[in-house]
């Protein structure tokens, strides 16, 4: 019988400092010490162990077609994520999973995809962004509207520059900065400014709860129906398999039934997220 609580040891093969300072973000690439049949879908998560500190549920930010590493971008917040930030290349962590439903990518084939992210909220979108670009023929136009508090808080900066050739990218920062040439203001305002078309489109948004709330209002205003809007939810988790009892929103366990919900579904659920 498989024991779901046992993590598989994995080595950190690279650490990239995305954002420094108070809201530090690092991107870790990992490889299992022993070959593992770990396969996953876009939007799924994994439970990361820092041995001696505990576990934390982190979204997988690499795309499923990449097979030589798993990537996680982590905001330094609590005990485990702080400990993760202290780790270096060649250190060993534990990984179990994948968990959650992931994005319904099959249903989105042939549609235009509008990604709306804020801060670390780009990480859960990153696997589907890459998958959509990699399989360009299967999807329509791909647009990313992404913002952070300041230019220092933007993740995947180098990659974003390179991706501009392959997709439409609109960036924003909350406040004026000397060399900033793109939009200044909050992400939902940038959505209203760029006016993505709801025609044959799906909008996927992830970021701080308040950003998601107003982004959905903006999207509704632009004509997106609730079933065209998807978001990901996070709640505190300990098990990942719907047993420890804390990540539930009503009868739904975010670890198992989520983290991806259409707004049509989520708006009928209790606001316990």
């Amino acid at each position: 019988m498989k024991n779901e609580y046992i993590p598989k040891p994995a080595r950190i093969i690279s650490v990239k400092e995305e954002v420094d300072g108070q809201r530090a973000i690092k991107t870790f690439r990992t490889q299992f010490l022993e070959p593992d049949g770990f396969s996953y879908r876009c939007g799924q998560c994994a439970m990361l162990s820092v041995f001696g500190k505990g576990e934390s549920m982190i979204s997988i930010s690499s795309a499923p077609h990449i097979t030589d590493y798993l990537q996680f971008s982590v905001l330094k917040t609590g005990r485990v994520t702080t400990a993760l930030h202290d780790l270096e290349k060649d250190d060993v962590i534990g990984i179990r999973g994948p968990y959650g439903n992931g994005f319904p990518v099959e249903d989105w084939k042939g549609k235009n995809l509008v990604f709306v992210g804020g801060g670390i909220g780009l990480a859960p979108l990153w696997s589907i962004v890459h998958t959509a670009i990699e399989n360009k023929d299967e999807y329509g136009d791909v647009m990313l509207i992404y913002g952070a508090r300041s230019s220092n808080d933007i993740v995947y900066k180098d990659e974003l520059d390179g991706l501009k050739k392959k997709m439409t990218i609109h960036l924003s920062v909350d406040n004026e900065e000397p060399d900033w040439k793109e939009f200044v203001g909050f992400v939902p305002q940038n959505v209203m400014d760029k006016k993505p078309s709801p025609e044959n489109a799906i909008a996927i948004t992830c970021g701080p709860p308040v950003m998601i709330k107003f982004t959905i209002q903006s999207l509704n205003e632009l004509g997106f129906n609730d079933d065209q809007i998807y978001t990901t939810v996070e709640n505190k988790m300990k098990c990942g398999i719907g047993k420890c009892g804390r990540c539930n929103i009503g009868e739904h366990y975010v670890c198992k039934h989520g983290p991806v919900y259409s707004w049509e579904k989520l708006k009928t659920m209790p606001q316990e997220y």
């Binding site: 609580y5 534990g94 420890c244 009892g245």
Partner: protein
Amino acid sequence: MEKVLLKKDLNSWAGKLGSYDIYAPFKSGDVWGYELMENQAEITLDYPNTAIPPKKILFPQREVLFEFEATQEGGMEIREVLPDDTPKIIFGVRSCDARGLAKLGKISQGGIEDVYFTRRRNQTVIAGLACHNPPSPYCFCTSVGGSPHSLEGMDILMTDLGDAYYLESVTEEGVKLMGSAEGIVTDPDDKQKADKEKIHSDSEKKILLDISDMEKINEALSEIFDTGLWDRESLSCLRCGICTFSCPVCHCFDVNDEIIRTHPLKGKRVRTWDNCQFPDFTMHSSGHNPRSDKASRLRQRVMHKFRYFNENCEEFLCTGCGRCIEKCPVGIDIVEVLEKAKTYEK
């Protein structure tokens, strides 16, 4: 299989079960609890009910999931720690608590299986005991689909006939266990059968609490999510957690690493009972808390038991044992809350 065992022979039967770990009710001070019996002659089933339900035997309050240790070569060795495989018998489990174990089984073994619970459950035989009189004035098993002599979760149901126990096997495991009493037990006569039936039907009538219209509770609860009822009912809550600690089906847990500070890369991953009434149960590391007040936490406990679990498994996550009512230091009464929920005017 149905047999009759004279009370004076209970301990000689237990004496034949040397290959099992035997758990039975044991009184320590004023409190009954399940203990591993060192001496089979000490087993007594003359008790009301235990303070803490037998879930602790299958789902201990603290258990090690695995041990880890960094290796010389720069890897990490992980040693799974499984429960020992000694077969167990739990004597005297009341019908509410046996149903509780069955419900815990649905949670632990539904979907991705919990290896630790399953391993313990598969090696445990439940020899339960029907209630003559409700062990507590707060018993309400009959309101939540149970009864003082429910067979759910039992391998054997025992009924006290005065000088003897009436034994009914429920599962193959029960038949096997009763087989070990051959030579000590006798076949029941008609009077004993009739006595047992009468005890069972009388016992149902003695339950004091009765919640009407339980089939409508799911709908009633769905309509009062955002109301002041929860503020009012939770006002006196001390967040002590005794309601979930003493509950036969509450199963929420925490997972943490235990290390010695001098050896930070050698330690144990440990699971412990946790509690939905504690404020930090759902608190994100950012400080954001989806259930940040007492009202939302009491609502979660009630909704989980009578609505959410009902949605997922079509039954209540409550066995009506009454412990949470009896033990709450400030008198929060789940039956009263349900009654108010049914009639709440928005």
